[in-house]
Point group: D2
Chain length 349, copies 4
């Protein structure tokens, strides 16, 4: 493939963690040409000023969004903060494919969006051209629609184990408890006291209990799979590590279903998927075994409580939970092998 | 109080974490005299060889258990590995009070013990003189019985929030889910590959799912409170921090009960307790806010799922979860103020 | 001692780490009465809003500095940011003793101050009533002077091992290399991107090489001891831990001096000091063995390079490096036993 | 390149960290075919039993060394513990290229080896066919000699910044101080109490002061560059992170030389090297910016002490400090592009 034939992209919001992670993976992507990087407050700087780990890759300098020549591009990765993406996307040429890593287009119902995000959607007219980017579940829609709304990191870790068994009717959908634990990079790169090393190190707590915005996102997708309205418990915790999400999911089994049936459903569903693996009986997925990779590990256990089971799901929040899945979607949308730039092994220790 | 009047104690198993933590607290105890420390494999060494943080406190040298003159003692803290304590205690003079930090006397039913610990109890005849050392729930029995079986760290974090509401009949007892997260010191000081820094750092996983020995211990105490046989889910996770346990507990409310009712019950139950605090509405207990102290913080939240609530409990696994509670029990047993040597504020950051 | 006889104090700047640490220690101080806590941006809040670990100690609410009734006080601890203290102290009643934890009065030479801190001193007239608060070296001056300028954390870790051997003429003073490593709490509690957990975790770097403001502070005190002008290398590093400083100091020995001579000088100098310990030959001081305590551990090693030696010094940056030494100075100034409120053992693990 | 043309290799000692890291990189190597993995104590297990992060790569099962059919191989990576390699290599067919990651062939002088490693070399006759595998300095010798002795992690971080300026005569060679800080994975995967998470977390110390075996290795290579016998100070420290080494090196400048001259020498020396980068003036290399990659970052600073300068060098101890450099050497030895399998960007955060 010559330079000419590469897909020409910009990364908008390249100075945050999802932007940087998209670049980390993209610099090794053989069919992607990075033509523009934006970071309004860092315009004029080189990428290595904000991400020294990306020194030496001959990337374009950081610019303001307004200075990007979008007409020369095929696609953009939007790594902007929540709320900022809608207006930006509205202004882009319609010929551009948009891979959005923010939450701005994830919620299908504008009322739900307004309730949880605190304002009316700024570009509701675009919503009809959006597909939810949980790759393994939406390949057809993703190819057809212009905007890919990449899932939140927590929803990815909850939906991958839950969707097959919900679709199969194997669990009681109004009794799902999702206890999620995340590394700190999920909180983003903005300077806040609460995310200082000294505040977060050597400690653990739950946060946004009952009010985290990923709750309605999870509900939305579970409801589609269940073909009824589902509300799930979702309780996020902050763990003193940089990367990784582990979701421990407690489910009540449908009549006549055992934990081994869940396992069978999951194994069958994912046996041909390159990134999702069901670990063996008795094995417990660990975030350290997916670190830096697009892998998702799922474990299944019987509960000591009768008629209940436990699902475990480990991902790297910045890869399968964000930038890796974004690139997987990009590959899909442009007809490339899905694994391109995502094949490196997890880094341990 | 003169030297003479002090309670004379030995710490058996002083080279492990619970032993060292007992000493850290004991060196500031105004009514305790440390006369002997044992650590068979380190006999002849000074305590600072194994715990340099304890240098300078003029502690006795480490000896073998066999070399302790038990006749001069009033009490022993047993910080020996599980399984080793029964035979040791059997051989002690009956005049000695025993504060046992191991699991050896926690399980009341010898069949349950044998099933979960893999062997018949070596000293079943002693079990009739044992009280379960969850201090806040057993003061009368603790004073009366010779052996105090201090609770496991996880059970402490599960029982303190659950017992009052189970006793009050406010939750459905056969639908309790206890998702616990612990720092690594809970795994003890034995050299194992799985607990190396490089194995545990920057990662997270669940372990011993459905088979952790603290499960039946929790069940036992919940059953007593519920006056019926209770089995609870208990799922422990390992978090990359030294100290701290956070248990997130998902409960189904009894008919007509709301989360606020749980809160009221807990506030009332603990308002006069020196170490257990119910944090305010909307506050989330964090392990970092109890670090190094005997405090237990409990939070209560309504769940988004109807008829359900979420309890959170944070303790320092080595203090309220082990050595601190042991000293609290010691104080109680010997008629001292319960807070002696346990009054220092949590250390943050 | 009755309430009346207690020393009545305020902590100015109680919402930062040095303020919070001063409170953590002060709540256990039997001769100190905390009458006022200030934190301008948190005025009206309780201390547990900013330091949940301090819940339950019946501390006064946070106020603005302007709302403190200074006439009822005997002393203030100033835990304000560098640069803010001079004007505040200028406005205080002269009857108040001032224990200042900031850098504002540490530098004796106003030109050096202006050069390194970027502005003329705002209260040079007060400087004549200041003593440098390295307790072990200045007891007489500290008692006599109204303002105690507590040393920086890094200087404390460099000066305690160096001053005795510099005074004794045992090393070449213009060839001192101080390689210091600090936990992150030393950077304070202000929200900055560079100190986010995700930026600092799992990594290590040197910073402010050759330009850190603790450099001239170290030089100043070494010069006094050496009776000649000394410039020392000082290179600070940031380590992914909350607390602790380790300084590794490389020195060239004077003619005829060996590493063992340095050890002898240090042992002799500190044998009667309650907080400074010289560890045995071959032992390496570790920050984890002083955590949470006012201890300072010093080690001495011969270098493989002839005529050189290596000194190691471990302190807790927030205790002996800041709030603990402040309280030690407070005790000294008010004629109390120096160890009051500072006797708790280091917390490990 | 067809399967046939790939270089056929075995990894001996695949269950330790250097073995696992070699595999992590090797599974993405387009010209390497992994035919055998050994781990005597895990013989019969799959690699994912010991490295779950390597699940799914269709690697051969773990076997005993004795069960490897060496005749079908072109090369072996020896990731065995120090001391075990010499006898193993002695028994290998002479046709095999050996890339040794242990210390067994690094020391050229058998007397120095015996002194520092505690026994006579078991295969001194092989030493004449060894090249020291600091790739950038030994390409000719590496191609010619059968055995590549990959450097220690610390020596790599010390030699890359020092060798050019020593060769250029720009520093005084008998006054070099190397203060190194390493993540814990450098200590290997053997179960030892000292490397438990709870022992190492939240703390810092120096170890093996003056007696670390990487000292004579550094001396050896500096001496060759200096054309005189050099002894350098080398003081290693253990930092609570998984990966990374930062060496802070204090040097005395030769007459008429300034820090900028060192920078120029280093920039010129490394401008065509793919993995070694000299960071810009005022920039401080951080281990987090090389994590997971084969990069080496070097910084140069003037010292406040006259006639002195400070060098900083950051590498990932498991990549450029071990397995990455091993693969770089493998590539070189077999005439492949040096960067094969080593091109992925560092992972941050």
């Amino acid at each position: 493939m010559t330079e000419k034939q590469k897909i020409r992209v910009a990364v908008l919001g390249a100075s945050g963690y999802t932007g940087g992670e998209t670049l980390r993976l993209a610099v090794r992507h053989e069919s992607m040409e990075l033509l523009a990087l934006t970071a309004d407050r860092h315009a004029g700087e080189s990428i290595e000023e904000v991400f020294p780990n990306l020194a030496g890759y001959k990337l374009p300098p950081l610019t303001k969004i307004d200075d990007v020549n979008f007409s020369q591009l095929d696609a953009v990765f939007c790594c902007l903060p929540h709320g900022a993406t809608q207006e930006v996307v509205k202004a882009l040429p319609e010929s551009l494919r948009v891979i959005d890593l923010s939450a701005d287009f994830r919620i299908r119902d504008p009322e739900v969006y307004a309730k949880w995000y605190g304002h009316q959607h700024y570009a509701p007219e675009l919503q009809c051209n959006v597909a939810y980017g949980l790759t393994e579940y939406n390949r057809g829609e993703l190819k057809k629609n212009r905007i890919t709304a990449c899932p939140g990191c927590y929803p990815t870790s909850a939906l991958l184990p839950l969707l097959p068994i919900v679709s199969a009717g194997q669990i009681i959908v109004n009794d799902i408890i999702i206890d999620s634990k995340s590394g700190v990079s999920g909180a983003g790169r903005a300077a806040t006291q609460a995310m200082l090393f000294s505040e977060v190190g050597e400690g653990l707590h739950a946060y946004n209990i009952g009010i985290h915005r990923h709750g309605p996102e999870i509900d939305q997708e579970l409801s589609i799979a269940a073909k009824e309205s589902v509300v799930a418990n979702f309780t996020p915790h902050l763990v003193p590590m940089n990367r990784g999400i582990l979701s421990t999911i407690y489910v009540r089994l449908a009549e006549g279903v055992g934990a081994e049936d869940l396992r069978k459903t999951l194994v069958r569903r994912y046996e041909d998927e390159p990134f999702v693996q069901v670990v063996g009986p008795g094995k417990s997925p660990a975030t350290r075994h997916v670190r830096g990779s697009n892998k998702c590990l799922i474990g299944v256990f019987a509960d000591r409580l009768p008629h209940r089971a436990i699902l475990l799901c480990a991902i790297d929040n910045l890869v399968k939970g964000s930038s890796g899945q974004a690139i997987q979607n990009f590959n899909l949308v442009f007809g490339l092998p899905e694994v391109l730039a995502l094949e490196q092994a997890p880094i341990f220790p």
